[in-house]
C-alpha cells in the first residue's frame, strides 16, 4: 500500500517536471536565427505569456513561410524567469551560452527586464522589450543592445496627467501597487500634473501590497476626502479585483477612475466591468485601424480562436522591428543590427514608428478611452472613443533622457 502511494507521488512529480520541461530546446540547426525568449511563464505572468508566445509563434510561422530572414529560418527557445530577476538573468545567460541564441525577447516583469538587459549588454546580444516597461530601461539602466516597443511607465504616468488635467477635475487621488512600477508611474504622474494644472490637489495617496486582492481596508481611505478623479496603477488581476470591489463602495458614482484597461484585464473582469470608466490601453487591436493590424488580428484569431491581447500585438511589433533591422544590416551581428535599429522606421501594427537613436525607445503612444459595451465582444467591455496620445507628447525629451543616462555613469 505504502509503495503504491510512493509510485503515485513519483508519477505526479514526473508530470510536474514534464510540465516545466516542455519548452526546453531542440537541437540547434546552423542555418537558423535563434530567438531566446526570457519569459515569465508561471504565476501572475501566465496570462501575459500566453498572448506573447502565440504572437511570437505566429510571426515566426509567417516569416518562415516567406523564406525566413536573410534566408534563415527563425526559431524560438523559451525559458521561464518566474518573475524573478535572478532566475531571469540565469535564463538569459543559458539562452545565450547553451542555446546559442542570437537575439533575446524580453519578459513581462520590469524587474526581470532590468536583470536581463544587463546580461544582454554583457554578451552583446540584442534584447527587445514589449511588455515590461519601466522607463529606467531607456534612461538610468540604458545599454545599447536593447530596444523597447511598449509605452513606458513615464509615458503612462504623464499620459494619465495629461488626459485627466484636460477634464474639469481639481481634487485627485492615487492608488497603486507598492513596488517600482507603481512608484515610477506615480512620480511621472505627480510631476506632470503639477506642471499642467497648478491648482490641482493630490489629496490621498494609497499604496497597496502587490498581489493583495482584498481592497476593503483601502477603498474607504481612498475616498475619505471625496476626490473627483482617481488614477490607479493597478493592472491585470489586481485591477480587476479592485474595480469589482470599488463598485459597491460607490467609488464610481463619486469619482472618475483612470487605469490600464488592457484586453486581458477586460476579459477577466467580463460583464462585471462598469461602463463609463476612463482608461488607457497600450495596444488595443480593436481601436487601431490599419491594414497591418487587421491582417494580424484575423490571422491571430483564426489560429488561436481568441483576440490578441496588447502584449501579443507588441511582442509581434518588436519582431517586425528586429527583423527589419536584421534585413537592413544584412547581418545578424549585434553591433551592425544595433546600428540599423537606431533611427529605424518600421511599419508596426500601430502604424509607422521609428526607434529613437538616443534611448532606443520606439515612439509608441498610449490609447485613452472610456469603457463601454461593444456588440462585437459579447463577454466583456472594451474602450470606446479611443484616442491615441502620441509618444511625442509624453516621452521624455532627448535632453532629459541623456541627463538620466549620464547620471548612472
Amino acid at each position: 500500500m505504502k509503495r503504491n502511494n510512493l509510485a503515485v507521488l513519483i508519477v505526479v512529480f514526473c508530470l510536474i517536471l514534464a510540465g516545466g520541461m516542455i519548452n526546453s530546446g531542440e537541437v540547434a540547426a546552423s542555418e537558423t536565427i535563434r530567438l531566446g525568449f526570457v519569459a515569465d511563464i508561471s504565476g501572475v505572468g501566465a496570462t501575459f505569456y500566453k498572448g506573447q508566445k502565440a504572437a511570437v509563434d505566429l510571426f515566426i510561422e509567417e516569416a518562415n513561410a516567406a523564406g525566413g530572414v536573410l534566408g534563415k529560418k527563425l526559431e524560438v527557445i523559451v525559458r521561464d524567469a518566474q518573475l524573478k530577476p535572478d532566475i531571469g538573468a540565469n535564463m538569459a545567460r543559458e539562452l545565450i551560452l547553451s542555446e546559442k541564441c542570437d537575439f533575446l525577447i524580453g519578459p513581462t516583469s520590469s524587474a526581470v527586464a532590468l536583470a536581463a538587459t544587463k546580461v544582454a549588454q554583457e554578451f552583446k546580444k540584442i534584447i527587445y522589450f514589449h511588455t515590461s516597461n519601466t522607463e529606467a530601461l531607456t534612461t538610468t539602466d540604458f545599454q545599447p543592445y536593447m530596444f523597447q516597443v511598449v509605452p513606458n511607465t513615464g509615458e503612462e504616468g504623464r499620459g494619465a496627467a495629461l488626459f485627466m488635467s484636460q477634464r474639469p477635475y481639481k481634487r485627485y487621488a492615487y492608488i497603486g501597487p507598492d513596488y517600482a512600477y507603481g512608484h515610477d508611474q506615480f512620480k511621472a504622474f505627480k510631476g506632470e500634473l503639477g506642471k499642467l494644472k497648478a491648482d490641482a490637489e493630490l489629496q490621498e495617496i494609497v499604496w497597496v501590497k502587490l498581489g493583495e486582492t482584498n481592497f476593503s481596508p483601502y477603498i474607504p481611505i481612498l475616498m475619505s476626502k471625496n476626490p473627483e478623479a482617481i488614477f490607479s496603477s493597478f493592472w491585470g488581476g489586481q485591477l480587476s479585483s479592485f474595480v469589482k470591489q470599488a463598485k459597491p463602495y460607490g467609488v464610481f458614482n463619486k469619482a472618475a477612475l483612470y487605469s490600464l484597461f488592457d484586453l486581458d484585464m477586460l476579459r477577466v473582469t467580463g460583464m462585471d466591468m462598469p461602463e463609463g470608466l476612463l482608461g488607457y490601453s497600450r495596444c488595443p487591436f480593436y481601436a487601431i485601424d490599419n491594414p497591418e493590424m487587421k491582417a494580424f488580428v484575423k490571422k491571430y484569431y483564426d489560429k488561436n480562436k481568441e483576440w490578441p491581447a496588447d502584449w501579443a500585438a507588441m511582442a509581434y511589433d518588436g519582431l517586425i522591428a528586429l527583423t527589419d533591422a536584421i534585413k537592413k544590416a544584412n547581418s545578424t551581428d549585434s553591433d551592425q543590427v544595433v546600428k540599423a535599429l537606431e533611427g529605424l522606421k518600421f511599419k508596426s501594427l500601430r502604424g509607422e514608428r521609428y526607434i529613437r537613436p538616443e534611448d532606443h525607445m520606439a515612439n509608441v503612444g498610449i490609447y485613452v478611452g472610456v469603457t463601454a459595451k461593444n456588440p462585437d465582444f459579447k463577454d466583456f467591455l472594451v474602450l470606446k472613443d479611443v484616442v491615441e496620445v502620441p509618444a511625442e507628447k509624453i516621452l521624455l525629451s532627448v535632453e532629459e533622457v541623456k541627463k538620466l543616462q549620464a547620471e548612472k555613469k
Binding site: 502511494n5 510540465g19 481596508p217 480587476s240 459597491p248 473582469t269 460583464m271
Partner: protein, 294 residues
C-alpha cells in the same frame, strides 16, 4: 475625520475578520484534533475558490439561487477532497515528529498548487456576485457593499454552528475528547481514526466555504492560497492553535487591525498582525485561548 468614519471602518474590518475566521477556524480545528500543522490548508481553500469558479461558469445568470448552490455544493466537494488526502496521506504521519508532518504538508502545497495550475492555468478568474448582493447599503451616508454585510452575517452563523457542534452534540463531545484524551477515547471503543478523518473533512469544508466566499469578493488566482495561509497562521498563533474561539478572536483582531490602522498608519498597518503575533508569542506563547503543549 468623523466618528462615523471610524465606526464605518470598524464594521468594514469586522467583515474582513469574519472571512478570515471561516478559513482559519478550519486550520485551528484540524491542528487541535490531528496535531498536524496543515500548511496545505491555504491550497485547499484556493481549490475551493477555483472549483466555485468552474461551477459558476456552468450555471447561468447571477441569481442568488446559483450562488447559494455554490455555497451548498462546493464545501462538501472540498471536504471529500479532504477525505482522500487524510486517508491517503495525513493518516500516515500522525505519530511522526512535527518536522516530518510539515514537510509532508509543504510538499502537498507544491503539488496542489501545480495541479491547480495544470487544471485552471495562471489566469485570474472572476466569479460574479449575485445581483442581490452586488449593491451597497447606506451606512451613515457611506456606501458599504452588501456583500461585506453578507459575510458579516455568515461569519457568526458559522461560529455559532461550530460552537453548537462542538459543545452540544455527541459528535462534538467526541471531537473535544479526541483533542484532550485521545488514548482514553480509543480505550472507550471510539474509532479515533475516523474522528480524525471527520475533523479533517470539517476543516476542509470550512476552507472550501471560505474559497466560495472569497471567489465572489475578489479575483481568484494562484497566489491566494499562500496569501491566506500566512494570515491564518498569524490568527492561530494569536488565538491559540486548536482553539476555535481563539481563531474567532484572532481573526477579528487582524481583520479590524489591518483595516482600522490604515487610518493613522497607511501601509504600515500591514505590520500589525505580525506585531500582535510577536507580542502574543512573548507574553503567552500558546496563544490567547490555547493551552500549552503537553
Amino acid at each position: 475625520m468623523s466618528a462615523e468614519y471610524y465606526l464605518f471602518m470598524l464594521i468594514n474590518g469586522l467583515s474582513q475578520g469574519m472571512l478570515l475566521f471561516i478559513v482559519a477556524s478550519g486550520l485551528s480545528l484540524v491542528f487541535g484534533v490531528l496535531r498536524v500543522i496543515n500548511f496545505a490548508h491555504g491550497s485547499i481553500y484556493m481549490i475551493g475558490a477555483f472549483v466555485a469558479y468552474s461551477l459558476s461558469t456552468l450555471l447561468t445568470g447571477t441569481s442568488l439561487a446559483s450562488f447559494l448552490l455554490l455555497l451548498l455544493v462546493v464545501p462538501p466537494a472540498i471536504a471529500l477532497l479532504g477525505f482522500v488526502l487524510e486517508v491517503s496521506l495525513f493518516r500516515r504521519v500522525y505519530r511522526e515528529e512535527h518536522l516530518l508532518q510539515l514537510l509532508l504538508t509543504y510538499a502537498l502545497v507544491l503539488i496542489l498548487d501545480n495541479v491547480v495550475r495544470m487544471i485552471w492555468g495562471g489566469d485570474p478568474r472572476n466569479v460574479a456576485r449575485p445581483e442581490i448582493l452586488a449593491g451597497s447599503v447606506d451606512l451613515m451616508g457611506m456606501a458599504l457593499p452588501t456583500y461585506n454585510v453578507f459575510i458579516l452575517l455568515v461569519g457568526p452563523v458559522i461560529a455559532l454552528g461550530l460552537w453548537l457542534l462542538l459543545y452540544r452534540t455527541r459528535a462534538g463531545n467526541v471531537i473535544r475528547a479526541a483533542v484532550s484524551y485521545p488514548d482514553i477515547l480509543g480505550a472507550l471503543g471510539v474509532n479515533v481514526s475516523w474522528v480524525m478523518t471527520a475533523t479533517f473533512m470539517l476543516g476542509c469544508w470550512l476552507a472550501g466555504l471560505g474559497g466560495v466566499l472569497v471567489a465572489a469578493l475578489a479575483n481568484v488566482d494562484l497566489s491566494i492560497g499562500m496569501e491566506k495561509i500566512i494570515e491564518c497562521f498569524a490568527v492561530v498563533v494569536i488565538g491559540g492553535l486548536g482553539s476555535v474561539g481563539g481563531a474567532l478572536l484572532g481573526s477579528l483582531i487582524i481583520g479590524v487591525g489591518i483595516t482600522f490602522f490604515q487610518l493613522p498608519f497607511g501601509r504600515w498597518a500591514l505590520v500589525f498582525p505580525y506585531f500582535v503575533m510577536a507580542l502574543v508569542l512573548i507574553i503567552r506563547p500558546w496563544g490567547l485561548f490555547g493551552r500549552p503543549e503537553r
